[in-house]
Symmetry: C2
Subunit: 342 residues, 2 copies
């Protein structure tokens, strides 16, 4: 097997390229993963000089353009042919790069890699997946969280199978419990989409446990949660917002009296440990499933730790050959891409 090499889009995050470079250096040092930093050469080297990179396998490939968070994803992906993400995608297609990590404009990242590499020959629609912490400690996979806002039932079935493979390969769960995000546990509950998808999922060769509700996501009783990209994106952003609000409201309350201020100081370590459990950056970003080559999308507010973990996850995806597994499984099931039916 060829050596795995990961490209890090150095220009994506809100603090680019500082956090990307720092995260890449950490990943190269800690895991020994060879890395190619893609972006504005001068700025990347400026950052690299701040670190000790003597024995690390880090290369830099220049890309003259940068896509910002504010740009229209589709337009930027199409027009900026020398953007850091487009260059990274071309390296993956042509130059032996196995995976990409990017904290850039999610829409533009998805559009760019899809445009340059295409979907796996068996997959109708790629899905963006994310990992959420649960009460029981084991992480849960939620997909799709934004790649496809309008879905057909058979897309949800494909997402379920890809999520199942992801859970087995990366988290080592032998028989992942797969749930369909809906609004009641009974088979008959849901909207037109989920009611149809329910029937397909029941027939699929996965451990389908039926409908799950919003409140089940964080409990830890389901390993893979499937939904359309609109619902998933709303759910993901709601969770982020609610955690922030919860923290802020708690802080307000704790600052009210001296006793509770004291309490806060005493419990600060616990708060920190707790925040870490909820920290998306510990989980290493959102894999884009169903695309040729591996792409891990990180939050725009990523820190170096998030980038480092995403590189580790990208490496794991390559090592476990997740894409090969998807192709094999889909082929075995006789799933072929739907053409012209959508």
């Amino acid at each position: 097997m060829a050596e795995i090499k990961i490209a890090v889009d150095a220009m994506g995050s809100d603090q680019a390229p500082a956090v990307e470079v720092e995260g890449a250096v950490q990943a190269a040092a800690e895991y020994g993963i060879p890395i190619v930093l893609v972006g504005r050469e001068d700025r990347v080297h400026d950052q690299l000089r701040r670190h000790d990179t003597a024995d690390l396998a880090i290369e830099v490939v220049h890309a003259s353009e940068v896509i910002t968070m504010e740009e229209s994803a589709a337009t930027a992906a199409r027009k900026k042919r020398d953007s850091s993400i487009r260059v990274a995608a071309r390296l993956m297609r042509d130059a032996g790069i196995s995976g990409i990590v990017s904290a850039g404009n999610t829409g533009a990242v998805m559009a760019s890699v899809k445009m340059v590499l295409g979907t796996l020959p068996v997959v109708d629609r790629p899905a963006l997946s994310t990992v959420l912490p649960t009460q029981k400690g084991k992480p849960a996979i939620l997909l799709d969280v934004g790649a496809n806002v309008d879905c057909k039932p058979h897309h949800l079935e494909q997402f379920a199978i890809m999520g199942d493979i992801y859970s087995r390969a990366i988290f080592g769960i032998r028989r992942p419990r797969v749930g369909l995000l809906s609004i009641g546990e009974e088979d008959s509950k849901g909207n037109e989409l989920t009611k149809e998808a329910f029937k397909s999922l029941k027939r699929a060769p996965i451990n389908f446990i039926g409908n799950v509700e919003g409140r089940d996501i964080f409990k830890g009783d389901v390993d893979v949660i499937v939904c359309d990209g609109f619902t998933g994106n709303v759910a993901l952003k709601l969770s982020e917002g609610l955690i922030e609000t919860f923290s802020a409201m708690l802080r307000q309350e704790l600052e009210k009296t001296l006793a509770s201020k004291l309490g806060y100081i005493f419990s600060e370590k616990a708060f920190r440990a707790f925040r870490r459990r909820l920290d998306y950056s510990e989980y290493g970003g959102a894999p884009l499933l169903g695309i040729k080559g591996i792409t891990i999308v990180c939050h725009g507010r990523s820190n170096a730790n998030a980038i480092k973990n995403a590189v580790r996850v990208a490496n794991d995806f390559c090592k476990h050959n997740v894409n090969r597994a998807i192709e094999t499984e889909f082929t075995k099931l006789g799933i072929t891409r739907t053409v012209g039916v959508l």
Copy 2:
């Protein structure tokens, strides 16, 4: 104006009829609202005897049947003609009851009142609305949270106008900021439904502030958030679940060391105050908008306080003539019910 009288479905909640009776007694005592308790006479009187009801305007009306949480909503609503909620709905239609409070099977409550009373002559689809706490203190209204899982764009427009009226009448917000729940702030972001609804909402005579994302719901910068009932229900249950998970994880962390245990004790009062801010029961349930007569749906896990507050909200809805306002506004806008187009 005839005196306002509220019917409380005594048999709905998980702890029925104890919490319903206690909440009704509290509401009658605290607010002087006349109440009719509807349910199994013997069991209701058993509970009533535990309270001092000497000077309170509380009546009991017998209903022989009870709908459980496990029953199919549609079947139970249709077949159990003498269920507490059906009897309460008939009292509202025929016997001078202005509003109903029920903590029963939400689907069965909605189906029953819709069946007995019908929607307002101008409204296509009723909407279940809920109130969420925000970081800035002012509550936000989210609708629909489950009455209509599959919506057309004009339904969302109707929800927006009803939510606007609700916000003005009950929370006294002069010019409520109305947002459309979507997956990006730009006009062009969303799924087919929200993209079409966006156009209608821009033309509607409301203070439409555009798309809002999941993370905005709890920030306090939007007063009314509109979505289809599937998305809204997922969002609501996710929020409930996340708060529970958050509390549990925090407790786990705080129990780990003596210092943080001490911290927890010191800050316990703050925790309690905080939980109260997030407590749905303080907000008085979920009004069902667009039905003839006022119906407030409470959580199955309601306590007496939740029932009391829901009675107060039902009374406010009647006092402010919210249904009349909806009819007037819809008529002014030339909105008439769509027949046979759905």
